[in-house]
Amino acid sequence: MTLKNKNRLTAILTIAYLVSCSCINYKKETKIFEKYLNDNFNKCIEQQRHFYLLSNSYVCKNCISYYLAILDSSMMNANNKNITIITTIDLPGLERLKSKTNFLKDNLGQLNYENLNLNNLTIFYTEYGKIVDITYLPLDKEKENRYKLNQIVKNN
């Protein structure tokens, strides 16, 4: 291998390394979430592109109900089987949304103890059984949160 080729190879490897580093790896979260789904609902992370909307008990309950009502009103389809809502809290008045999506109620509140860095309403985007992105709908930034919910409906 000539010096020129060696330099080229080094450059390619460096770029490849940098690219791989810039991708956020959700290996830890995938492992925890996979085990949680399996232990509590006897399910696996979906292979097809999927949105998991998660809410534990340490949330602003009114905000969660409000965000889910927005999601409900923007959904035209009656069947959104690539959206799963998992919650530990009671959400009265969202019966229509519950029937439009996959709705899982964590009655024993096990989601409260998973080290998944949940913050208010948290969305896991998954593909091929792995988490590929995580987004948060925190207490503030209502406008941004609305936008994120609309994106889910659009990409659905």
Partner: protein
Amino acid sequence: MIYRLFLFLLLLFSLISCNNDGLSIVEGKVISILPDSDSLMSPEEFLRNIQIKNINNQIVSYWINYNTNSFHIFNVTTNENRSISLDSLIVGSIHQNIDYQILNEYDVGFYSWIDKKLYILNSLNNLIRKFDFNECLKGEDTNITPVSSNRFPFIYKNNSVSFVCTYTDLFMNSKDAIKEYFERNNTIQFLLSETKCTYHKYSFFPTNYQNGSTYNNYFFYNCLNASGEIVYSYSANDSVYIYSATNELIKQHEAKSKHSKIFTEYDLSKINDINYARQYALCNGFYESIIFDKFRNVYYRVYKKSVPYLNNDGKIRSGSEIPWSLIVLDDAFNKLGEIEFNPAKYSPSYIIPSEQGVYIGHPYEVNIKNRQLSLTLLKFKYDFKEQK
């Protein structure tokens, strides 16, 4: 060999007794409360709404069922069950932001902090008295919202009621606003007269709060003693503060846990990060409720110890994995001892003194699994009266 065994047992015994400062616990009967089978309440909802009090040495539990807009009273001692429909009594005000408590043998208080209205219902004749604090507050005090909740309930005494005082003109997202909040009065007392409304603001947060330190807790715990004085306990302060029946600060007295360390400040840049708030609450030790035991004339002050955020399984610690202790103070607030509790068995959420002993609740995780609220009657093997 026997001598070694004797030494080992002696050492073990001294370790056990030292752990509780000479106080030990004797477990008594267990009581359990279940929701009605037709109540349509989830265990989570039931456990969130249920409250317990000792009324005339009878253990009484009560809760609102929001599905049926009804108030339930279950006397654990006599096994009597009662239900009162609230539909016609408190029109339009039954929502989840209502706080309620049994005030005495007959009266029940319902407080809606959104409407700033207090309703006192006589459960015998269903007569209701209404007090609208919106009409009462004047001038800059219209910014005041008296607040009450399960953990920080209003105090009812001699036809007056005291609330935690919050201010709607302050947005608690900056150090300056929080400092100003802590510099203002933190309690408001209303005299309950149907003809004339009068109120009085009093009490301040301790100096470490007023200096601008924040601990992500804007409320406080307090209790009423036999003399009509109110004793205040703040999460991040080793002292208790005693206010006279006329709302004057009588004294500040140290009531420190042996586990108490320097209180770490909350990072205000993460004020909207709930995950950080949980981590902060777990990894720091704080004081919690203060309870007056009129049967023994002592006070119990709860101290929640600091623990690592995650347990050995890599999960976020649950309430049943957070150890706590009970500081026992005599009527002059001198520390009599500190009792260590196993959090897997006992929770500080329910501490109900009775003539027979003190009822302590089981952890939330155990209760939700069993779909009921359970408490154990404990006797502290130490007669406070005799020791004094």
